[in-house]
Amino acid sequence: MRGATLGINMRDERMKRLRHFLMIMVAVAIPAAITVAGSPAKAEPVIDITKGNIEPMPIAIPDFYGSQAGSDIARVVSADLERSGLFKPISPQAFIQDNASLQQGPRFQDWRVLNAQALVSGAAQSTANGQIQVQFRLWDVYGESQMTGFQYNASQNNWRRVAHQIADEIYKRITGEEGYFDSRIVYVSESGPKNARVKRLAIMDQDGENHRYLTDGSALVLTPRFSPVSQDITYMSFYNNKPRVYLFNINTGQQEILGDFPGMTFAPRFSPDGSKVIMSMAQSGNTDIYEMDTRTRRSRRLTDNPAIDTSPSYSPDGSRIVFNSDRGGEQQLYVMNADGSGVQRISKGQGRYATPVWSPRGDLIAFTRMAQGQFYIGVMRPDGSGERQLSSGWLVEGPTWAPNGRVLAYFVSDPSGRTQLHSIDLTGYNERVMKTPLDGSDPAWSPLLSSQ
């Protein structure tokens, strides 16, 4: 049991992580590293998340000491880690060591009895002016040493974000990969009958909390996507029966049409630096891809082909674009340089391919595939090799990447028209429903909020 999750922890990897650890800057809460005591144990708890269907690591997360907020934070941290499918939080009812004495240091044998591989101890105190001070330490139960520790000073209202950032630190320390819990989802909330769906933009934390609607449903809205650098969303709206790409500022609620195009604009996405939006424009029966500078509002045509060219998505370095085209007779995926040159088809399998999205890590492209009456969510390398299917169903569509490129969200529809958001691990395991108040489609995952 222990041998399966331990073991492969290379020195290089640890050094790399240490560097990351020193460079962390968090916007809402300023974390301070808590000194790691002693030298690292020989075999720390490590999860190799590239393996697929792994046994989740048992982890103990007692309530943080000192306040109700401490209990709430521990609950959110625990839920985040559990939902990742990589951790199995142990029921607090089994805990032997009490929270007060845990503040003096873990009695490791009390946690080994529960088979906890890792232990999180923490404290949360209210300070002046609605502030909260939160600290946590992650312990290697078998190695009897501290793996990491941070202190956060934040506004009381931001306790959830502190919890998500703590979950991200734990995830990162144990998997060696960046976390994704301090992030949000924007999506289209759906209600009403199939032939008269009411669609509203809605936003929520990745765990479904802090849900709110951004539009009132009077205009049909589709395909929202986050700016990587600002509080802007780009999306498509049928406001005034004029289907166009819009910008929406989450903080101010201000909406504006993007550009002055003669035809329908749709399928927008930001460039990785947020300076451009790439999208399709349809006019006189032909759809091509355009880019628009969000500051100067100058646009440039990137494809000029009688086929439908749509669903463009930049590579994370901004040098290339993957898109959907039927120039070869049916929908397939193509990659081109960011100036529109060097177009190459990359999808090679059976059926039609659509909605390509480049991973934030750059290594993969996620897509929707349609074949033999079924829909699939899959991934392939940017050269089209290594195609893998992650999920399938009557209708599954529109994948979006979590900021660490390890998890995907997409939507599922059944023949009655009900829609639902799902998430799945890149390995194809741990498919979960993402809870929304009403039906949901077109999810888009934000970057890590602390990176903005």
Binding site: F238, P243, G263, M264, S280, G285, T310, N324, G373
Partner: protein, 166 residues
Amino acid sequence: MRIQLISAVAAALLLAACSSDDAATGNTAGTNTTGTDNSQVAAASVAPGSAEDFKQNVGDRVFFALDRYDVSAEAQQQLQKQAAWLQQYPAVTVTVEGHADERGTREYNLALGERRANSVANYLTALGVDKSRLSVISYGKERPECTESNEACWSQNRRAVTTINR
């Protein structure tokens, strides 16, 4: 000429079918207020030149094969009727709505709907309807007419609908 004849027959049938309802609601026809010479349909329950007239007596939609946007022979006949009606009422402007079935991806289907709407608009233009009277919009797979999930239904949803602007 032939159009008007069909209209008259349809109107007569309609009147027969609806006469009891009309009596109940006090809707006693006689709605020829357009000043045209369609005296033979004066008794119809829909006003000649109206959106209802177009929908009931001409037919407002054509259908497309899977993933196609070319105007079929059957659709051509339908659009000839639409063009004749539009030439009869030159003040009317229309919006051609393009639609797709639910078995495609959202963004591609928006483009496909736009293609279908333009196929119809182009065909009507070729038949002499002035371009300035036609606009297009695509709803992709967002506004199905038929809500079941089978091929019979999907074939009704792969459509372009000519709607009279109010």
